[in-house]
Amino acid sequence: MNPSPFEILGVSPDADDETIRRAYLERVRKFPPDRDPGRFRRIREAYDQLRDARSRLRHALFHLPELEALQVFAHRLHPRRPTLPQFRKMLAECLKDVR
C-alpha cells in the first residue's frame, strides 16, 4: 500500500517541473535526512520519478499500481464503514475483557 510519488510530494498528477521541485525542497526541509532517513529516501525517490517530463512519462508508462493501491483507491471512492449498532456491539463485546 505504498503511496504514489505524487502523494509523497503532495502534488497533483498534472503539476509542472517547478511545482514539483518546490514541493520536494519543502519536504526535504521538513524531513531532513538526519531526522528521518527513511522518509527522506522516499521523498528523494519520489522526486526522481517526477522531476521532469521524461521521468513522469516513464512513471506513467511503466508503473503498474499494486492491487493493494487499487484497493485503497476503491476504498477512498467508497469508504466501507460498519453501522453504528455494529460498532456498539463490538464495544459491548469488549466489556468481557475489562476485569
Binding site: 483507491f73 453501522t83 460498532f87 463490538m90 464495544l91 463485546e93 466489556l95
Partner: protein, 622 residues
C-alpha cells in the same frame, strides 16, 4: 482509572441505557458523551469533517479522550497505515479503549481470525468479504459499478485500465463504459503483466508493439522512452545481445536526443564493444545537445584519451574545468593529456611541439606530484633535444622526495622509449635508492609510492620493469604495522596494479588474518575477498572451490557485520564466478554450441575433450 470506571466508559459508548441513567449529572463522562456519540455516528457514515468537529468537543482530561485516537486510526485505514498505527500507539494498555484498539490493530495486520465474533463482523464491515485481501475480479466489479454511475471520477478510468493487467477478462465490460480499450494501452498492460511475472521475452514482444504504435501515432518521446525501457529490461537478461542493445539505444537517442542517460549508456556500450569510432561519434553528437554537461564532457574527454586524441581530450577537459574549476580529477586528466601528448610528439621527434605541451601541463599542474612529473619530463626532453649532456632532475626534487623521483624518472625514461642501454642505469638507480630507503621504511612512503604507481599505470606507461624493481621494496612493507583501513586502501591499489602475490602477502600479514592457537575465528570479509581474488590471479573464473566456500562464509559474515560494501563486492565476485562456470549462449540466443559445452566440461573435470567424446558415445561404459 478503576476497572469500574473503564467498564462505564465502554458501556456508555456502547449505548447501555442503564449506565447512562446511573451517571451523575456532573460526571465528565456524561458531559462528553454527546460529542463522543456524534463522532461515532459521523465516522460510521463516512463524514470525516464531522468526526473532526465532534472529537474537538472531547477534552484531553475526559475519560473518553482515547476515542479521538481510535477514530483517527480508523480514518487512516487503509491509505495511511503508519498514521493509523501511531494513533493506536497512544492508547495505553489500561485505557478503557484498549480492547477496541486491539481490534483496529487486527484490522491493519490482517489477523482477523483470532478476533471475537462481533469484532470480526466489525472488521469485515470495513474490509469487505475478502478480509482486506484484494481480489482482481471483485475489485474490478466494484470499480466498474462506480464507473457506470460516475464515469468521469478522476483516476477511475486509469485504475480500471491498470486492473485489466490483473484481470484481462474485464476488457469487454470496460469497453461498454469507456469504449474499446486503446490497443496501445492493451499492449502496455500485457507488457507490464509479463514483466511482473518475469516473462522477459513476452514483455519485450509487447513493448515492441507499444513502440511501433507510438511511433506510428507521431509520439516520438513516448516511443523513445519505451525503447530505453527495453534496454533496461535487456540489461537484466543473463546474456544481453550487446549489438541489439546498441541498436535500441541508437533509436532512443535519435527519437529523443534530450535523454542524456541514453547517450552515456550508448557511449559506455561502444567502449565495451571496443568500437572507439562509434563511441567518439556518439559523444560528439551528445556534446551538441549537452555542450555544458559535466558527465558528457568527462565521458568525451575520457574517450579522446583512450583513442590517443590528447589534444582533443585537453580541449574538452579545459571546457569542463571552466564549469567546474575545482574538479581535481579533471585537472589531473588535463595534465596527463598534455604529458601524453608531449611524449607522443617527442616520440615523433617533434620536440618543439612536445615542449609546448609540457608548458601547458605545467600551467594546469597544481599538486606536488604533478609538478614533479612535469619537471622530470621537461628535463628528459632537454636531454633528448641535446640541450644538456645529462638530464638533471634538481627542479623536480622539491616536489618528489626519494624514491618517488627515481620511480618517475625510470617510468618516463621507459615511456619515452629510451634504448635499454640508456634506460637501465635509471632502473639501477631506483633499485639502489629503494634498498637504501628500506632501512627507514614507513607505511606513508609505501602508500605514496603505490599511489604514484597507480597513476603511472593509468597513464599507459610501461610498468613491467618498474614493478619488478619496486616489488621487493613493497614486500618489506608487509612487516610494518598498518592501520586496517590503510591496509585495505593499499590492497585496492595493488589490485589495480595486478600485484597478486603482494596482495596475498599484505592480506595475510594482517592481525585479523591470523587464527589464535586452538581457536577458529572468522576473518575480516575484505581480507578474504582480496586473498581469494589474488589467488585466482584476478580472474573470478579461476577461483578454487575452497575459496568459493570461504567467500560464501565471508559474505554471510559481512552481512552480519552490516559491511554492505564488502557483502556486495563478494556477492559480485561469486556471481562472476558462477557466470564463468556456465557455457555462454551464442550472441542473440539460439542453440548451445556442443563443442563449447564439451570444452567447458573438460575444463571443469580435467578430462581431455577426446576422452569425453569417447565416453559420451560409449554411454560411459568401458
Amino acid at each position: 482509572m478503576t476497572t469500574e470506571q473503564r467498564r462505564q466508559v465502554l458501556e456508555a459508548l456502547a449505548g447501555d441505557e442503564t449506565t447512562l441513567k446511573s451517571l451523575p449529572a456532573d460526571s465528565p463522562l456524561r458531559a462528553h458523551l454527546a460529542a463522543a456519540t456524534e463522532a461515532l455516528k459521523a465516522w460510521c457514515r463516512g463524514d470525516e469533517a464531522a468526526v473532526r468537529a465532534a472529537v474537538a468537543g472531547i477534552p484531553y482530561r475526559s475519560p473518553l479522550r482515547d476515542l479521538r485516537f481510535l477514530l483517527r486510526a480508523l480514518s487512516c485505514y487503509p491509505h495511511d497505515p503508519e498514521g493509523g498505527k501511531s494513533a493506536l500507539a497512544r492508547i495505553a494498555p489500561d485505557s478503557p479503549l484498549a480492547c477496541p484498539a486491539q481490534v483496529v490493530r487486527a484490522l491493519y495486520s490482517g489477523q482477523h481470525k483470532a478476533l471475537k465474533p462481533l469484532a470480526r463482523e466489525f472488521v469485515r464491515a470495513i474490509t469487505g468479504k475478502g478480509g482486506g485481501k484484494a481480489q482482481p475480479k471483485q475489485l474490478f466489479s466494484t470499480l466498474l459499478a462506480e464507473a457506470k454511475k460516475h464515469p468521469d471520477t478522476p483516476g477511475l478510468k486509469e485504475a480500471l485500465t491498470a486492473l485489466l493487467a490483473y484481470y484481462p477478462a474485464g476488457r469487454n465490460a470496460f469497453a461498454k463504459v469507456y469504449g474499446p480499450v486503446d490497443p496501445v494501452e492493451w499492449e502496455r498492460m500485457k507488457a507490464l503483466l509479463a514483466e511482473r511475472k518475469r516473462h522477459l521475452d513476452d514483455a519485450l514482444d509487447a513493448w515492441e508493439a507499444v513502440f511501433h504504435q507510438y511511433r506510428e501515432r507521431g509520439r516520438p518521446l513516448h516511443a523513445a522512452v519505451v525503447r530505453f525501457h527495453m534496454v533496461e529490461l535487456l540489461e537484466k537478461a543473463d546474456y544481453p545481445h550487446l549489438e541489439t542493445v546498441a541498436e535500441l539505444l541508437e533509436e532512443t537517442v535519435s527519437l529523443d536526443p534530450g535523454n542524456r542517460d541514453a547517450w552515456l549508456k550508448l557511449a559506455r556500450l561502444y567502449r565495451v564493444l571496443e568500437d572507439e569510432r562509434a563511441r567518439g561519434r556518439v559523444l560528439e553528437e551528445a556534446l551538441r545537445h549537452f555542450p555544458s554537461d559535466l558527465k558528457i564532457l568527462e565521458a568525451a574527454a575520457e574517450a579522446a584519451v583512450d583513442r590517443g586524441a590528447f589534444k582533443k581530450a585537453a580541449g574538452l577537459t579545459r571546457r569542463l574545468l571552466k564549469i567546474d574549476p575545482i574538479n581535481r580529477r579533471a585537472r589531473k586528466r588535463l595534465v596527463n593529456a598534455h604529458m601524453r601528448h608531449a611524449r607522443k610528439q617527442a616520440g615523433r621527434g617533434r620536440f618543439d611541439l612536445a615542449a609546448r605541451e609540457i608548458e601547458e601541463a605545467r600551467r594546469w599542474a597544481k599538486d606536488a606530484e604533478d609538478q614533479g612529473r612535469v619537471a622530470v619530463l621537461e628535463a628528459l626532453l632537454a636531454f633528448l633535444r641535446g640541450e644538456v649532456p645529462e638530464p638533471s632532475f634538481e627542479t623536480a626534487r622539491p616536489f618528489l622526495p626519494s624514491p618517488l623521483l627515481e620511480c618517475v624518472v625510470a617510468a618516463e625514461v621507459s615511456g619515452l622509449g629510451f634504448p635499454p642501454k640508456q634506460g637501465k642505469p635509471y632502473l639501477q638507480s631506483l633499485r639502489q635508492v629503494l634498498d637504501h630507503r628500506a632501512m627507514t621504511l614507513d607505511s606513508d612512503i609505501v602508500s605514496r609510492l603505490t599511489d604514484l604507481l597507480v597513476d603511472l599505470d593509468a597513464e599507459g606507461l610501461p610498468m613491467e620493469d618498474l614493478l619488478k624493481a619496486v616489488r621487493p621494496f613493497l614486500k618489506k612493507g608487509t612487516k610494518l604495522v598498518w592501520d586496517e583501513d590503510r591496509r585495505i586502501a593499499l590492497l585496492e591499489k595493488l589490485l589495480k596494479l595486478r600485484q597478486y602475490q603482494l596482495i596475498r602477502d599484505y592480506a595475510r600479514a594482517s592481525p585479523g588474518w591470523k587464527q589464535p592457537a586452538g581457536k577458529r575465528r572468522e576473518r575480516p570479509p575484505a581480507l578474504v575477498y582480496f586473498d581469494a581474488l589474488a589467488k585466482a590471479g584476478g580472474e573470478p573464473g579461476a577461483l578454487s572451490y575452497s575459496d568459493v566456500d570461504a567467500l560464501g562464509a565471508a559474505h554471510e559474515y559481512a552481512c552480519r557485520l552490516q559491511q554492505h560494501r564488502w557483502a556486495a563486492r563478494i556477492d559480485k565476485l561469486l556471481e562472476d564466478y558462477e557466470e564463468s562456470q556456465s557455457v555462454p549462449l551464442p550472441p542473440g540466443g539460439g542453440e548451445l554450441n556442443p563443442f563449447a559445452m564439451l570444452e567447458q566440461l573438460s575444463r571443469e573435470t580435467g578430462i581431455p575433450v577426446e576422452k569425453l567424446i569417447k565416453e559420451l558415445f560409449s554411454g560411459g561404459k568401458k
